[in-house]
């Protein structure tokens, strides 16, 4: 193409006002939230980069689908539209809708795991890990070594350490009910997994007779990275790449709130008939009847349409480029980030940026508080608060102390990103004044959502 500027492949049909706050208002708000950005009122946030999950803008076609939602309790046509889309993309025989991704994880964990089972994954996400551990099983992370090195450039830092996986499978025969591979690898910085790596993982699993499940939340973004970075895939469409990826697995869990371009929803898909029957029975208890799975018919329609929109090359080009755009500004300013930039988020390396705050004072968390107070920006910590507490209750520093600036899909413009960059540059100049935090009160699981904190003296 003759022009270099990448535009949003859409125009705006509906807007939602956002509100400026004063510094004093933000101080009051973060205090009331006990220094936990999850506890802030969304109205007090100017730019919300807490998550890309369920925060996307739907298209006119998805809204039209919403109006076509068939709300029949059983056998609705929206369900059949949903199954058709998922079948086409994943080729899995059984498609089971759930109200969101964690419910799919919960059901598959309950169906397949028992106390002492081991689940290897390139890196478990927080809810996946919670669901695995809830069953008394061990959630084992096996990323390649480069995955832990924020500054190392590697095109597929999300890859599974296949040699380590082979050892685990060899030494734990009969005790690994399934292997998971998360695309993209969220907790390691939204880093992609190569087709080659998925293929080798798949071959290994098949040789050991262990099913492979893909945690497919960001399958479309991963497909784009394969297309643009992996030899031999440049001429394939993201849809073809996704189809190839899913054919290497035996099933998947999906949060449609990411690459389903929906505000709510998820699914579980698989080939095994007996396992599907078990999962459907379990689904009815906690989710809903198998043809709606705890979703409204209109949600199923929105996902059926959204899955294809997420695979549109123009959209993916714009999507990945938006993150790179902010990343380039950070690199130019010398702010440490995980490199290369991930698919759905920019990850600030709080450990090296705020080296004056030790891990037990949660540098990532401290940075997320500062981002809000200084600029009204909400981001989430992915570090020792999220992962530090071990299943025995002890505390262990996470490998990485990251702050994730997650990009909601199709929501913010380039000028919003310019503002974010400006706030970050300002934070660089006051970095030494950012104070560590202490946990005052915490729940038994998933503590980052509801824990209360206080600021430590400088």
């Amino acid at each position: 193409m003759k022009f270099k500027t990448i535009i949003e492949p859409f125009r705006i049909k509906t807007v939602e006002p956002i509100r400026q706050t004063t510094y004093a208002q933000r101080i009051a708000a973060i205090r009331a939230a006990h220094y936990n950005v999850f506890q802030l009122n969304a109205e007090d946030v100017l730019i919300d980069l807490l998550t890309d999950s369920g925060t996307g803008a739907m298209s006119v076609y998805q809204w039209a689908g919403m109006m076509k939602g068939d709300e029949s309790y059983a056998g609705g046509r929206s369900f059949h539209a949903f199954v058709k889309s998922v079948n086409d993309i994943t080729s899995f025989r059984h498609v089971i809708p759930t109200h969101q991704g964690r419910a799919a994880e919960h059901i598959i964990s309950r169906a397949m795991l028992k106390a002492g089972s081991i689940v290897p994954n390139n890196t478990h996400f927080d809810t996946t890990r919670a669901n695995v551990e809830h069953c008394g099983a061990v959630a084992l992370n096996l990323p390649i070594a480069e995955g832990h090195e924020p500054q190392t450039i590697h095109p597929f830092k999300g890859n599974m350490d296949v040699a380590a996986l082979e050892r685990v499978l060899r030494e734990n025969v009969g005790n690994v009910p399934f292997v998971m591979i998360t695309v993209t690898n969220n907790s390691e910085g939204g880093q992609p997994v190569s087709m080659e790596n998925i293929r080798r993982t798949s071959e290994l699993c098949r040789a050991h007779g262990v099913p492979l499940f893909i945690d497919a939340c960001r399958f479309a973004e991963n497909s784009w990275f394969i297309k643009t970075r992996e030899p031999g895939y440049a001429d394939k469409s993201p849809l073809e790449i996704a189809q190839e990826m899913f054919r290497l697995a035996d099933g998947c869990t999906m949060s449609a709130k990411k690459d389903g371009m929906a505000n709510i929803g998820g699914f579980l898909a698989m080939n095994d008939d007996a396992l599907a029957a078990t999962c459907r029975n379990s689904l009815i208890l906690t989710e809903g009847f198998p043809t709606y799975g705890g979703l409204a018919g209109y949600d199923l329609e929105a996902i059926a349409v959204g899955l294809y929109e997420a695979l549109d090359p123009d959209y993916l080009h714009y999507r990945i480029r938006s993150v790179e755009y902010l990343a380039e500004k950070m690199i130019a300013a010398g702010i440490p980030i995980v490199r290369p930039a991930g698919g759905h988020a920019l990850y600030l390396d709080a450990k090296s940026w705020l080296s004056h705050i030790p891990p037990h004072q949660y540098p990532g968390w401290a940075l997320s508080v500062a981002l809000y107070v200084e600029g009204g920006i909400r981001a989430s910590e992915i570090g020792s608060v999220m992962f530090g507490r071990q299943s025995d209750g002890s505390e262990q520093a996470a490998d990485l102390e990251l702050v994730r600036l997650a990009f909601p899909r199709r929501v913010y413009t380039q000028s919003h990103m310019d503002y974010v960059a400006e706030v970050l540059l300002h934070l660089r100049s006051v970095a030494k004044e950012i104070r560590g935090v202490r946990i005052v009160e915490q729940p038994a699981t998933l503590r980052h959502f509801t824990s209360k904190f206080e600021l430590l003296p400088n």
Binding site: T55, E71, Y73, A74, G75, R102, T445
Partner: protein, 462 residues
């Protein structure tokens, strides 16, 4: 009760959804393919869908406007606060935990309140509620009044709790093994039958004196409030909204499926009065549902539910809602079809045991009647009898006193003309009732078998 005077729907139609009639040959093929289970039919093969009133409502233009105002922030969405306000204002529970639907709330409540070995009394079981109680290790005990089990009794409040039965259970197992009494308003499986306010107050007094909580299944509490207004002495001058609040005052907590009374397609909540319980519930909601300020719902769904709650207590709405159910019921009574009396709030329940008296219980007359009704006219109804009741702990079929087919009316969806077609279809099947054959299982799931079970005809007369 005397026949209702004419009423009109307090709305006009803004958006329509097409439905399609099928041929008898089509329907024969479809019902076989569905294993004679109406749950397994595709909705596009259904003409008038009376399977359930759950999540099948038509939303108003105001609710759709609310849908466009969804705040999809992961945490602290303003729609959560709108829902919290509506629940506080109309139900009066200070602590709100949103869930993706009612069973999500039941799952969490059972897990926080029940210790294995406990006993939970309730005014008749409901399918998903009992399963959650049992999975948490409790035994369910039916303490509803005897009249509830008699389809012909015209007791005005067949949902009432029998205090003597409740007292006998508490004396037998000890109050400390009874974490809560479950009061459903209305009682779905008794035929959508209401509970009296005075009865709820007596239950509350009895339980509170013994340190037992009362948990309200508030799914159709607004419909129940309307019956109280119409039938309970001294209540006629209270608004439905005021009665709803009085009912909730009898409870320490409530589980709610917004898919019924609250006029939405998805959503539910758990309401509590105790902060410590709310904390425990929030710890679990994040595992099963979603962060406690969205509970597995989109922001827009919470907004639609908040608006739906306000619409649900409007007198004109509830009068036409129940008026329509009673219109259908009265026409069926006029046609001589045995139905559960008095007519309930959300559905007309056909007495399948009386209609198909030639079929033994083990041939599932209600399942057979629902299949026959679909074959006749494309009307989809739901079995509420032995198939729904499942098996007891020894593996034997439970045969509840009531063997019913439920014609459930979605809110604001069908017109009087649709109800006329349903009447004609049921009357036709009733005329031909001796031709209807029984069914036996070809596939039977372990839990909540009615959803996915498959059947074949027994004793097919060639």
């Amino acid at each position: 009760m005397t026949r209702c005077r004419s009423w009109a729907e307090p709305w006009k139609i803004k958006v329509v959804e097409h439905i399609r009639m099928t041929t008898a040959a089509d329907r024969d093929a479809h019902i076989r393919e569905a294993g004679y289970n109406t749950f397994l039919l595709r909705s596009e093969h259904v003409y008038i869908d009376l399977l359930t009133d759950s999540g099948t409502n038509a939303m108003s233009d105001r609710q759709w406007a609310g849908m466009m105002m969804g705040d999809e922030a992961y945490a602290g969405s303003r729609n959560y606060y709108a829902l919290e306000d509506a629940v506080r204002e109309f139900y009066g529970f200070p602590y709100l935990i949103p869930t993706h639907q009612g069973r999500g709330a039941e799952n969490i409540l059972s897990k926080i309140l029940i210790t294995p070995g406990d006993h939970v009394p309730g005014n008749m079981y409901f399918t998903t509620t009992r399963v959650h109680q049992e999975l948490a290790g409790a035994t369910f005990h039916d303490v509803i009044i005897d009249e509830a089990h008699d389809p012909a009794s015209d007791h005005p409040f067949k949902g009432d709790v029998d205090l003597d039965k409740l007292d006998a259970l508490v004396r037998e197992v000890g109050a400390e093994r009874v974490p809560y009494t479950s009061v459903a308003a209305t009682v779905n499986l008794a035929g959508g039958q209401p509970v009296q306010l005075s009865n709820m107050r007596r239950v509350a007094d009895y339980c509170r004196a013994r340190g037992i909580r009362v948990i309200l299944d508030a799914t159709r509490a607004v419909e129940n409030a309307w019956f109280i207004q119409q039938r309970e002495p001294g209540m006629h001058h209270h608004s439905v909204a005021a009665i709803l609040k009085l009912m909730c005052e009898c409870a320490d907590g409530a589980t709610m499926s917004g898919k019924k009374d609250s006029l939405v397609n998805i959503g539910g909540w758990l309401g509590l009065r105790e902060e410590s319980l709310a904390e425990q519930a929030r710890g679990l909601v994040v595992v099963y549902e979603g962060l406690h300020t969205y509970g597995g719902l989109a922001g827009r769904d919470m907004e639609a539910m908040a608006i739906g709650i306000r619409e649900s207590v409007e007198e004109d709405h509830i009068r036409s809602r129940i008026g329509q159910v009673h219109y259908l019921g009265q026409r069926l009574i006029d046609a001589g079809v045995p139905v559960v009396r008095p007519l309930g709030g959300h559905a007309v329940f056909l007495d399948a045991a009386a209609i198909l008296s030639h079929l033994p219980r083990e041939h599932f007359p209600a399942q057979a009647l629902a299949a026959a009704l679909y074959l006749e006219s494309g009307v989809r109804a739901m079995e509420r009898g032995a198939v729904s009741a499942g098996r007891d702990t020894t593996g034997e079929n439970r045969y509840p006193a009531l063997e019913l087919v439920r014609l459930t009316i979605p809110r604001r969806v069908y017109t009087q003309a649709h109800m006329d077609v349903v009447t004609e279809s049921v009357a036709e099947v009733f005329e031909q009732r001796e031709q209807v054959q029984g069914l036996s299982f070809t596939y039977e799931p372990e839990l909540l078998r009615f959803f996915q079970a498959r059947f074949e005809l027994v004793g097919r007369r060639e």
